[in-house]
Subunit: 137 residues, 2 copies
C-alpha cells in the first residue's frame, strides 16, 4: 500500500514548498485557515528526524502559524502531529474561530454547528507564507 | 478568572521541570503514556515565544516523546498544542496503542472502546525523562 503523502492520490493544493517540506491547503469544509505541513521524507515521528531537521520543521510550522495569524486574526491556533491513519510526519496548523464547526473543541471532536463561511484569499495566504518563510522553491 | 496552568486548582503530578517549563502526568484514563508539557509563562501561542524559546520547548516535547517511545514502544506518538479551553501554551504528548480508547482516531474524537489497562511505572518514566532531558531542577 503506498503512502498518500509520498504519492498523493489527487493533486495537492500546494501553497509553499522548499527542498525539505511543503505546505498544503487542507481544503477542510468550515476551515479556510487550515494548512498541513508535510515533511518530504517518509518518517513517522518528530524524533525520527535529526534535531536540526526538527527545528527546521518547527520553523516552517511557526511560519504558517504567523501567516495565518497575520491574515485571519484567529482566536487560537491549533497545532498537531498525529498520523494515526497516515504515519508520515505532517503537521496540522489550524486557525480557530468561535463560530467554526467545532470550537472550542478540537476539530476531531463531533461538530457543534455548521460553521459560518469565512472566505480566505489563497493568493494572500501564499504571499503571507513567502513573507514569513522566504520564497521557497 | 485565574488560569489553571498558572495557578493549578489541584496539585499537579510533576514528572520533570526546569526553569522554563514542566512535564506533568496528564492522568487521563486509558492513557498511561500521556504527558503535558507546560510552558511556565502565560503566553498563548508558539509564535508568542522568541525563536530560541520555541526551539527549547520543542526539545522538551521531543525529549518526552523519546522517553515514552523508549519505555512503552507505542505504535504512534501524538503531539498537539490546542489551548482552546485553556489558552496557556502547553503540549499534549500522547503514546498511542491499537487497543487504547480512541485508536486510530484522535483522543478528542468519541471513544471506540474502553481500552485495556496498560500499566506505567511512573518512576521509570521520571528516570527516562532525566536520561533524555537532563536532571532538571
Amino acid at each position: 500500500m503506498s503512502c498518500p503523502l509520498c504519492v498523493p492520490p489527487e493533486p495537492e493544493r500546494i501553497l509553499w514548498r522548499d527542498a525539505q517540506c511543503r505546505v498544503i491547503d487542507a481544503g477542510e469544509a468550515g476551515y479556510p485557515g487550515y494548512c498541513r505541513v508535510v515533511w518530504g521524507a517518509h518518517v513517522r515521528e518528530m524524533t525520527d528526524l535529526a534535531p536540526p531537521e526538527r527545528t527546521r520543521l518547527l520553523e516552517v510550522v511557526c511560519g504558517v502559524e504567523s501567516a495565518l495569524r497575520a491574515l485571519l486574526e484567529p482566536v487560537k491556533i491549533n497545532l498537531a502531529s498525529l498520523g494515526n491513519y497516515v504515519p508520515h510526519l505532517h503537521w496540522h496548523v489550524i486557525a480557530r474561530f468561535p463560530d467554526d464547526p467545532h470550537y472550542p473543541d478540537a476539530i476531531w471532536a463531533p461538530a457543534r454547528r455548521q460553521g459560518s463561511a469565512r472566505p480566505l484569499d489563497r493568493e494572500a495566504l501564499r504571499a503571507a507564507l513567502v513573507r514569513h518563510l522566504g520564497p521557497g522553491i
